[in-house]
C-alpha cells in the first residue's frame, strides 16, 4: 500500500441508491445519497428507524450491492474493489456477531487470522485489545455467558482486530445501560484519537450530539442536514422557548400557528403537551409571546428557554419529531406501511 491509498476522505458516496422489493411494490430505501466523511473523526448517521441508515451502512461495508451511484471507502471502490475495502474496514453489526459457542479470546484469534496476520501477531494484538477494552475477566469464558455490556465490548474488539482505517458501527449502544453506553463512547473517542475514522448509525439524539464530530441526518433515504452538531443547531435558531399552556381543550397546533406569527419567533410546533418556539432573540420573543398569550387568555403553567436540540433540526426539516418516530422495530429494514404513512403525513 502506498501513501496515496490513505486519502483524507474515509468515505465518499455519489448518488447512492438502493430499492427493495416489498409487498405491493418497491421501497426506495436509499435515494441518492452524497456523503463525504473526512478521515479521523467520529461521524454520526442520525435518523429514525427505517430511514435508510442500515441500508447505507451495508452498502459501505460490502454486504449489499447498490442499485446506483458510487461509494468509496478508505480509498477503494465498494463496487469494484470490495476485497480491498474489506481488508481496510471493521464492522460491528446491529446483531452483534460474536460467536457465542466460542470464548472471547477464540473469537478474537480467529478474526485476526482471517486478515492474514501471523499467529504470533494475532495473539499479541488480541492481548492488547483484551486489556484496552477490559475483557480480561471473561475473555476465556464461552461468550454465551456474557452480559450485554461484555458482549458489546467483545464485538467492538472483533471490529477493530484488523486495525481498520474506518470502523463502522450500526446502532452500537442500543440495549446498553447508561454506564455501558458512556464507556463505549469513551472507547470510540479513544479510537478516533488514535487515528481511526468511526462511522456510526444511531437514532439517539443525545448520542449523535455528544459523540459525533460531524453528523448527517437522514430521513426516507435522503440526507436532510449535515454538519457539526453545533452548526446544525445554530443554523436552526438561537434558542428554543418551550411553553406548557393550561387549556381545557388544548388545540396546541392552532396555538403554535398563532405564536409563529409573533416577532422574533422563527418557527413553532406542537410537541406533546408543549408548544416549542424557535426564537432569534429570547428577550424580545418572550415579551411578544407572553403578551399574545395574555391577550388570548391562555394560562401558561411552565415555560423554559434552552439551546435547540438536534430534534428541533429534524422537526424543522421533516415536520416530525425524531422522538415520535422512534417507536418501531429495532431493525432498520424497509418498513413499507409505516414509511409511506409517515411520508404522506409529512407532505403538505
Amino acid at each position: 500500500m502506498t501513501s496515496t491509498d490513505t486519502p483524507a476522505e474515509a468515505v465518499r458516496t455519489v448518488g447512492l441508491r438502493k430499492a427493495f422489493r416489498a409487498r405491493g411494490g418497491t421501497v426506495d430505501a436509499v435515494r441518492g445519497i452524497d456523503l463525504t466523511v473526512a478521515a479521523g473523526q467520529v461521524f454520526g448517521f442520525l435518523g429514525p428507524n427505517g430511514a435508510g441508515k442500515t441500508t447505507t451502512l451495508r452498502i459501505l461495508t460490502t454486504l449489499l450491492d447498490a442499485d446506483g451511484g458510487e461509494a468509496f471507502v478508505a480509498g477503494a471502490s465498494v463496487r469494484t474493489q470490495s476485497a480491498e475495502v474489506r481488508r481496510r474496514i471493521g464492522y460491528v453489526g446491529q446483531l452483534g456477531g460474536a460467536d457465542l459457542s466460542a470464548t472471547g479470546r477464540e473469537n478474537l484469534l480467529l478474526q485476526g487470522r482471517l486478515y492474514a496476520m501471523s499467529a504470533a501477531r494475532v495473539r499479541e494484538h488480541a492481548e492488547e485489545l483484551i486489556s484496552v477494552l477490559d475483557l480480561g475477566g471473561f475473555a476465556d469464558r464461552i461468550a454465551r455467558s456474557y452480559s450485554g455490556g461484555q458482549r458489546r465490548r467483545l464485538e467492538v474488539a472483533l471490529g477493530i482486530m484488523n486495525q481498520p482505517r474506518v470502523l463502522f458501527l450500526d446502532e452500537p449502544t442500543t440495549g446498553l445501560d447508561p454506564q455501558n453506553r458512556a464507556n463505549l463512547w469513551d472507547q470510540l473517542r479513544g479510537l478516533r484519537d488514535a487515528g481511526t475514522t468511526v462511522f456510526l448509525t444511531t437514532h439517539y439524539l443525545e448520542e449523535a450530539d455528544l459523540l459525533s464530530d460531524r453528523l448527517a441526518i437522514i430521513d426516507h433515504g435522503a440526507i436532510i442536514a449535515e454538519g457539526t452538531p453545533a452548526e446544525l443547531k445554530r443554523r436552526y435558531s438561537a434558542d428554543v422557548l418551550t411553553l406548557t399552556p393550561r387549556l381545557p381543550d388544548p388545540d396546541l397546533p392552532a396555538l403554535a400557528r398563532r405564536l409563529a406569527g409573533q416577532p422574533f419567533v422563527t418557527a413553532a410546533s406542537a410537541d406533546g403537551t408543549d408548544v416549542r418556539l424557535a426564537v432569534a432573540d429570547a428577550t424580545g420573543a418572550m415579551a411578544a409571546v407572553f403578551a399574545a398569550l395574555q391577550a388570548d387568555g391562555v394560562e401558561v403553567i411552565a415555560a423554559s428557554l434552552a439551546q435547540p436540540s438536534l430534534d428541533d433540526v429534524f422537526l424543522r426539516e421533516t415536520g416530525r419529531s425524531l422522538r415520535d418516530t422512534d417507536a418501531g422495530s429495532a431493525r432498520d429494514q424497509p418498513e413499507p406501511p409505516a414509511a409511506t404513512d409517515a411520508r404522506a403525513a409529512a407532505l403538505p
Binding site: 427493495f20 451495508r58 460467536d99
Partner: protein, 253 residues
Amino acid sequence: MTFALQTWLFFRRKLLEALRQPVWIFTGLSTPLLYLALFEPLLKSLAGGAGFPHGTVLDVFVPGILTLMAFGAGMGAGWVVIWEIDSGVTERLRVTPASRLALLLGTVLRDIVMFAVPALVVVLVAIPFGFDAHWGGLVLLLALLAMLTASASATSSALGIGLRQIGSLAAVVTGTQLPLTLLAGILLPLSVGPVWLRVLGHVNPMYYAVQAARDLAAGQVVTATVGAGFAVMAALAALALWWGTRSYRRAMS
C-alpha cells in the same frame, strides 16, 4: 495457502463447537447402533433370499446404515447457519476478506468427521456379528460417502441461507429425507421391489451411492456400479458446494 489456512481455521472452529456439545456426538453414534441392534434381527430371516446376494444380512445392511449416517451427518448444517445469520456471526465473517468457500467448507469438513468417526465405530461393532470387512473397499466407501455428507451439508447450508426460517428448513429437509432414503434402497435393496420403484430409484443420486457402497463393502472395487457411484457423488458434491458458496456470497439483506 490463505484459502487452506482459512478452511482449517473454520473447520477447527466448527469442530470445537461440536465437541462442546457432547449430546450431538452421543446421538450421532447411538442411532446407527440402535439400527444394528434392533433392525438387524428382523432382517436375519431374509438372509439368502432375493436381494441379499452377498453372504450375511449385515453385508447388505451395513453399507445402507453407513449411507444413512452420511446423509444424516450433513443434513443438519442449515440449522446452525440460520442461527449464525440471526446472531450476526455470518454477517461479521462476510465483512472480512475470508473466502466464502472456506467458510462453507469449515462446516462441510466438520460434518465429514462427524460422519466418519461413528461410521468406523459401527463397522467395528458389526464385525463380530458377522460383517465381512474388506478394508480396501471400506476406505473407498468412506471416501464415497464423505462426498454424500458434503453434498447434504452444503445443500442444507444453502437452504438455510435461502429460507432463513428454522421451520421452513425443517419442513424441506424432513420432507425430502424420507423419499430420498426410501428410493435409495438403504434399508432394503430396491431389487426386491417392483419395476416402477426401481426406475424411480434411478433418478435419486443417493441410489448410486448405496449401490456402489454395497459393492465396495463386498470388496468389489472395480465395477461399473462403483464408477457410477463416484461419478454421481462427485458431480452432486461439486454442485452443492457451488450452490452453498454462491449463497454465502450473495447479500442476505
